[in-house]
Amino acid sequence: MENKNLHKTENHKEHHISSYKDHFSTLLALLLLTVVTVVVSVFGADLRSLSVATALLIATVKVVVVAYYFMHLKYDMKLYTWLVVLVAVLFVAFTALTSIEYFNR
C-alpha cells in the first residue's frame, strides 16, 4: 500500500503519557487562579465592571488550561485544537451579534 502515508495527518503518533506530576502542577495552577478570582471578586467589589471582565478572563484561562493539559489538546492532533477554536469563535460571534443588537435598542 504505497498510498498509506497519504493518511498520515489523520493517524496519530505514539500516545503521549502525561506524568502524575504534570497533572498535579496543572491542578495547582487551576487552584491558584480560583483563589485569584475569588479574591478579586470579594475584595474588589467596588471595581464592578472590571471584575466582570477579570472574572471571565480568569475563567477562560482556566478553561484553556483544562483543555490543553487535562483534555490532552497539547498532545493530540492539531485538528482538535482548530475545532475547539472554531466552536469558540462561533459562540463568541453569537454573543457578539446578540449583544450588539441589544446594546443599540
Binding site: I17, S18, A55, V66, V87, F91, S99
Partner: protein, 209 residues
C-alpha cells in the same frame, strides 16, 4: 473486514478505531458546549437588561459553598486525568482507585449542591413559590436561570458519575487495559467538560457582584 472474493477494504467502519471514538466524543462535547451556550446567551441578555437586579440577587448565593465545589471539581478533574495516566502505564488498581476518588468528588459536589438548593428553597426562592413571586422585576429571572443552569449542570454531574461507574465496572472486568483505554479517555473528556462549564457558571452566578 474480509471479503469472500479475497480482498480487504483498508478502512472499515467495523474496525476498532480509538481515534474515531475520541473524535466522536469531542464532537459530542461541542454539542454540549453549545447547549449551555444557549443558556449563557439568555443569561447575558437578561443581565444586560436587568443589571442592578442581577447584582443584588448574586449576593444571595453562598460564595464559600461555591468555592468549595469549584475546588472539588478541579481536584476530580485531576484524579480522572491521573487515572488515564495510570491505565496507560498498565496500573489497573491505581486507575480504578482514582476513578473511585472522582466518583467520591461527584458525590461531594452533589451533597453540597443539595444543601445550597434546599436553603434557597427554604427561603422560597424556587420559581412558583410565594417569596419568589414577590421578587422585584429581574431578580426572579436571576434565580430562574440559577436553578435552570445549575440544575442542568447537576444533571450532567449525575450522568458523568454513572459513566465513571461504568468505566470502573468494565476496568475491573478487564475490558479496559493499557492497550485499550478509549473508554477511560472518553469518560475523562466528558468529566472535564462538566468541569469546564462549572468554571464559567461559578463566577457568573457567585462572584460577579
Amino acid at each position: 473486514m474480509e471479503h469472500a472474493s479475497g480482498f480487504v477494504l483498508p478502512n472499515s467502519g467495523h474496525n476498532r478505531d480509538a481515534e474515531a471514538s475520541k473524535m466522536g466524543m469531542w464532537l459530542f462535547l461541542f454539542t454540549e458546549l453549545l447547549l449551555f451556550g444557549g443558556l449563557f446567551i439568555v443569561y447575558m441578555v437578561y443581565r444586560m437588561i436587568n443589571h442592578e437586579a442581577f447584582l443584588l440577587s448574586s449576593f444571595e448565593l453562598d460564595v464559600t459553598m461555591g468555592t468549595i465545589n469549584t475546588v472539588v471539581l478541579l481536584v476530580s478533574s485531576m484524579t480522572i486525568a491521573m487515572s488515564i495516566t495510570a491505565i496507560q502505564k498498565g496500573n489497573i488498581k491505581l486507575s480504578v482507585n482514582l476513578l473511585y476518588a472522582t466518583l467520591a468528588a461527584a458525590i461531594i459536589f452533589m451533597v453540597i449542591k443539595y444543601f445550597e438548593w434546599s436553603s434557597k428553597i427554604h427561603h422560597g426562592l424556587f420559581p412558583g413559590m410565594d417569596y419568589y413571586e414577590s421578587l422585584p422585576k429581574g431578580e426572579g429571572l436571576f434565580f430562574y436561570l440559577y436553578f435552570f443552569m445549575t440544575g442542568l449542570h447537576a444533571l450532567h454531574i449525575i450522568i458523568g458519575a454513572v459513566i465513571i461507574g461504568v468505566v470502573i465496572y468494565r476496568t475491573k472486568k478487564g475490558l479496559v487495559t493499557s492497550e485499550k483505554y478509549t473508554l477511560t479517555e472518553n469518560a475523562g473528556l466528558y468529566w472535564h467538560l462538566v468541569d469546564l462549564i462549572w468554571i464559567y457558571l461559578f463566577p457568573l452566578f457567585y462572584l460577579i457582584h
